[in-house]
Symmetry: C7
Subunit: 291 residues, 7 copies
């Protein structure tokens, strides 16, 4: 046995340990500063005047930014600590003369064997880290993940928890989300297609619908839900016996369904009053019993 | 042959064995504590007042939390024991001068060869561990796995066993589930679309349906199954000769089918009584024999 | 040339050989015990009273459990023997001074080259082992593999052989089955949708169908095939001119098709007798020649 | 230069060469015996009395078994020879002091580079070997590969050659076949759906069809093609104006198309004679010019 | 510096070079013989009397066989030369004391990095080699690659060039073709479905069509395009108001479209002459203005 | 311990450090120049006269080119710095006698384990770098990513942020975009299909539509949105009772929807005035109440 | 420190550098010659007389061949230079005693980590190189990539830029294109299906259409766009109340749409003149108001 190494090694080991602690401290400080800087920066895009007002009104901005910064800081600190101390431990063991090769070789075999199966796991975590870092969505947003659409209830590193309109709770792995549609950043659009009989006069139909739209834009609660006066876009399609007119309304986020139902109902009533016949009706003969 | 190593090696080997036992003991104690802490924490999200009440009423909370904690503890203890003793054994063998290289090399070849095929297996287990750790669902929940929808009968590390509405038992590998929809955490929604003829007065139809909905909300057993008074949302669509009105009802979990059938039946009867004609009917001429 | 190793090596080699035999014997004994224990354990879930009765009546339980235990034992013994003797052989060769590196390196190259192509093969075998170990299905069960539905004729490690309702024999690789639906563990459900004309009285239709269902539940051979009295669920849908009423019947496994045909036939006859008109009939004018 | 190795090496090399020849001889003998044993064993499942009779009648059994055994033996012998002599050559070269490392390293690089691209090739061969070993199908069987359905003309290790009903020759790579449906092992099923008008009496329709079926079962050449008397299953569906009755006939393999055409023709004629009106006919008013 | 190796190395290097040349010469000779043997062998399957006659009539057989043999020989010679001289060069360099490790290591890194991206390329070439070796198709055949159907204009190792019926030239990578349907080896089938009104007499319809078919089989140019007398298969389907009768004709390759158009036209004329009414005609009332 | 290395090493280390700084400085200068050169070059394709005018009118060209050059320069500088200093650090450590092997081996294991999961991340970044380098799209362009269509709001290395027509914000990973359709580089096409009754005179219909199109091309604001006079292409299809005429108009980017609505409305009015009847109208009898 | 190597190394290094320069010069010369040879060779297939004339008329042949040769030469020269000098540099460094292992090992780790993500990038480049080398398409061709159809505007190594008929610019990664359909090499086919009422005389319809087709083939500008006289193929289908006749015309590339519109218009006019009624017309009763 060779006791010589006792003279040089302890010194080296001490250096390694001190160095590791120093590196970790510096890294943590750098993370602290980066996190603080991130918290200052306004984190969300400002999508037009109307969208910005709506979104800031929710009052979630500064709170969410803080939360996000804390999450990121915690992840980074954990990673730094693990990396620095693992390297230090390995170097110390090597210095002590422990033969690392069998250990590393078997770790390699197991690592490869598990690596194949764990790739979707790693992918989930990496996707989650980037999603949070890029602030793609937060708790309370309505998002479209392609697999489920709903309100975000929780954002973790591996999964996102949504609740959809039917009350179903969805657990979606972050790595499986290839595109996110965030419906709470900006506005929503209500598209209403009004069908009338082919032989009705186009101008009259458009005039009636323009009146409906103008009225809606001046009545509560609808004017609060509309970002602009809805637009009667024109004749969208002409097919067998039916002519379809499209109305487009720019609404507050997630208000498009209620707005489009109201528009449809009012258009129907107004067209009936104006004597415009609906589709698939006059074609089979006038109904004598209509009111 | 070199007998010198006998002087130094036994000492080292003893150290390794003692160290391994110590590390394992410490690890098991840490797991014990983590498991106990996990058991304390309320594990389920509290989805609104109504949902929470319903879910806690099932009385499964504390029992499921205990079960889950025990499972996780057992997995972690097994992994720790295997890792610690494998490393110790390898180090001892190396110390004894056994040449580990052929062993490791052939293990590597076999490991890679099998690793490719076993990746979906590893994926299943890792997914299972995370699913249990995150408490995505438990025995008795109705879940939607994308491949089959049914009541969970068993959750194991590799597979989940469901029984669907037709009585078919489904064995689903955990790694193949990319998103889970849990239908037992919160509420369900009944969507009922009522079609009427195009030429019927909108307001009257809505009034009749609002009456139906109000009555339902005050009668047993329906008021117990409804979390809120159902809402007559408005005109959902207008197409050739048919106008469709949508009713939305928020129900207790998995009660949406019975509620929507009842709503449909009552709406039909009420509309007939009110003289509102259904779709595809008046268009072909009035039926003289209608009641 | 160095003849020294002759003194130490034979001893070591003897130790290795004896050790290998010992390890194999111990492993085989452990497997024997595990298999015996597995055979004792009731292997199937007990899905409700009715389901359990039906399934045990088939008398396949203990026989299948024995078969499965034997298969598992045989697999495990083969794997143990191969692993133990391969390791022993490699160690002996290394001790004899044979340079294993070229052998291992070329094995590695070939292993990787084949490993890519063989992964689906390994996957099939691993899936087969787990399927048998978890007792997901056995010979005689009707299963839904997603690719083919039929009666299991043979379960091997690599493939499952089914025969579908058309007499086609399907060979399905176990690794390609991502979910199994076992239709022979429990019950089956017959869903019968009865369409009637829109203008028929709802209550009368439901009353007639409830009578049909009650009669069926008391007549042989139907009462033996029904696990519960069928339920007239209510109005399932209302679309252009047609109202559909759903009847749900819980039947013995794989009896749902015959039950639903009988229910459909009886409902048709009963509705005709009760003077309820069918769909797409009165809408086009009454048929004077109807009975 | 070191001439010492000349004393020990020749001896070792001789041993290696002799050993290799011995191992190869033993392996070939073992293969011979295994192949002979395989030829004895009845290789096909016996699917019911009728199916077995039909299949053995084709007289292909023993001939196919022999062919298959020969193929398997030839594959195994080739693999054994290559493996044994490659290992021997490498060991001899190593013994001669040739530095194998550059050779092996470059082989490794090329092996990996090609391995990625060749994996589907290896997969095809492995699938082919197992398909032949498991006797999933043989020349003359009608199989469903998911990509093409036709009669097998050739089974090789890499591809299977089919000829479909249109005369197109299909070359299908064995590794791309994830499930095989063999239509020549057992029976085929003819499903015939007979539509009648909604208002026709159910019992009469069923009685007429049962007569048709009974007649068919006693006439040549149909009674030879039917394995059992066809079954009039009952009312399969009731939709707008149409009631469908299903007849199920168990036929000899690949006779289902001709049987179902005959059944359809006879049912049509019998229903016309019995005065049962067909679908989409009476609904639009009786046709005065019908024969 | 060590000049000793000058004594032994030149000898060894000379041996290596001579050995390499010898090996290459032997390999090339073996390839030559194999290619010549391949050219002798009849390379195409003989699909029935009619098919064989047709195919040999095209006179492409011996020419194609020669071309294919030349291609295969050239590929094999190139591969042999590259492999033999690369190994020789590496061994010589190693013998000269050049340190190959950095070279090989960087080659390894680049090899892996490129290997991932190049795998589809390698796959294309390997597929191409096997396609040519197995003679799946040749220039002039009409093939169905799943992605495009057309006449083969060129078969290279990486891609196949087709021209489809619209004149579009398709370049298809060989590795992307998972199954090939060759429409020029054998025959083609024309399926003609003749619809008649539901109430027409079945026997009369069949008799008329059998006459049509018999006439066609005796007239030029149709009798040359038909391999057998077309078969009136029977009633293919009975749906709302329409009865469909199927005629099946076995034609020369790629003549099925012209044959089916002729059959359809003649059947239409013959049915009109025989007074059989077509579908969707009598159902709406007889057309008084029909000829 | 060996103090000898102190004499040679410091010199070498100094050389390494100086060399690294020099290499980095040279690389950065080269990048600077490349970036400056890229900024000079016109970066966008000039798609025809009209398209070029429109696109340059947006005034985004030089600004976008500058922004892009800055992004590319920053990426390249970061990569260079990291690569050069990592290599220098490793070489210095090796020179100092630190055993890098355990470090590298564990980095390798972790690298492979993470590499599998991180591949989609790397892919996203590489795709992003190339997309920016090739200037496929910039902020403000309307693009079609296959998954979502909308206006680009932000282009980062990992993701692209779009806002679609409904106000939904889409985050799309660059690596998942396999093809980009840029709708803002050039023009857009409005396709308008005008259906008329089958029995209307073709020439008259075409004449009326040519008048409509000529008028539109001379009126504001439409003539500014049209790049050419729209073309009345001809009869696009003739199906049951309907003849469809197609009009094709080449418009400014993203103006096709408004142009096609205007064209449809004007065509409808003009055809009514000209007495051309629409589809599915005269077939059921003339409507006496038409204006 | 060991100064001995100064005697042997400089000589070796000089040899390496000179060798590298020589190899590069030889390689470049070989490339030069190959490129020149490639430029000579006619690069495009000659698809029939008509097609060849048309294609050469475009005058793009020699110009495109030159461009392609220059691109290929430039790629090959770059690769050669990089490979030769990298190997030389590595060998020189090894000769200078620089320890390459840490460098190579870390390069390996990074290479593998990036290799996974970069594989689609490498694939794009390799596909691009082969596409250009095989001259699958060039600037100005109309190609069908499966994802977008349009005119090629630029062919680079990584992407192909198309502009489709709507003016959208598509950037398509070369590696994602699994098959290319080139519509500018040869001809295009116009398929026109003419529907007539079921009860119209077949011969008369065919005669009228043959007249239309003959006229078209003799009028400008149509005769220039037609490669052959269009063929009236025959009755393509007979379904409920409608008989469809197909006309097939072989046109110059990309002229099929204009030709089919003209054919459709002329056929319609001619059939009206000949008194042949269209589909879905007489079935509902003659329209008294038809002109």
């Amino acid at each position: 046995m060779d006791w010589d190494w006792l003279l040089g090694s302890p010194l080296k080991i001490a250096c390694i340990v001190v160095g590791a602690i120093l590196v970790r401290w510096l890294a943590h400080r750098a993370i602290q500063r980066a996190v603080a800087a991130m918290e200052e920066r306004p984190s969300r895009p400002q999508a037009g005047r109307a969208g910005r007002v709506l979104w800031q009104a929710a009052g979630l901005d500064s709170q969410r930014r803080h939360q996000r910064a804390a999450t990121m800081g915690s992840i980074l600190r954990s990673i730094t600590t693990i990396v620095v101390f693992t390297i230090a431990a390995l170097t110390v063991l090597a210095e002590l003369g422990v033969d690392m090769r069998p250990l590393l070789a078997s770790a390699g075999v197991v690592g490869v064997a598990i690596g194949f199966g764990a790739q979707s796991l790693v992918k989930d975590f990496l996707s989650g880290i980037f999603m949070i870092a890029e602030d793609q969505y937060g708790v309370g947003d309505v998002i479209d993940t392609g697999e489920a659409i709903g309100t975000v209830e929780e954002v973790s590193l591996r999964i996102t928890r949504l609740r959809d309109a039917n009350g179903v709770v969805w657990y979606i792995r972050n790595g499986e989300i290839i595109r996110i549609g965030n419906r709470s950043q900006g506005w929503s659009t209500a598209l209403v297609d009004i069908p009338v009989a082919y032989d009705q006069p186009v101008e009259k139909v458009l005039r009636v619908l323009r009146d409906v739209v103008a009225t809606l834009d001046h009545e509560s609660p609808w004017k609060e839900r509309l970002l602009e006066t809805p637009e009667v876009a024109g004749v969208e399609s002409v097919t067998g016996g039916v002519m379809t007119v499209r109305v487009i309304a720019k609404c507050a986020p997630n208000e498009n369904f209620s707005v489009s139902r109201e528009l449809r109902e009012r258009s129907k009533v107004a067209l009936d009053l104006a004597g415009i016949r609906g589709p698939g009706f006059s074609a089979y003969g006038p109904d004598s019993s209509a009111p």
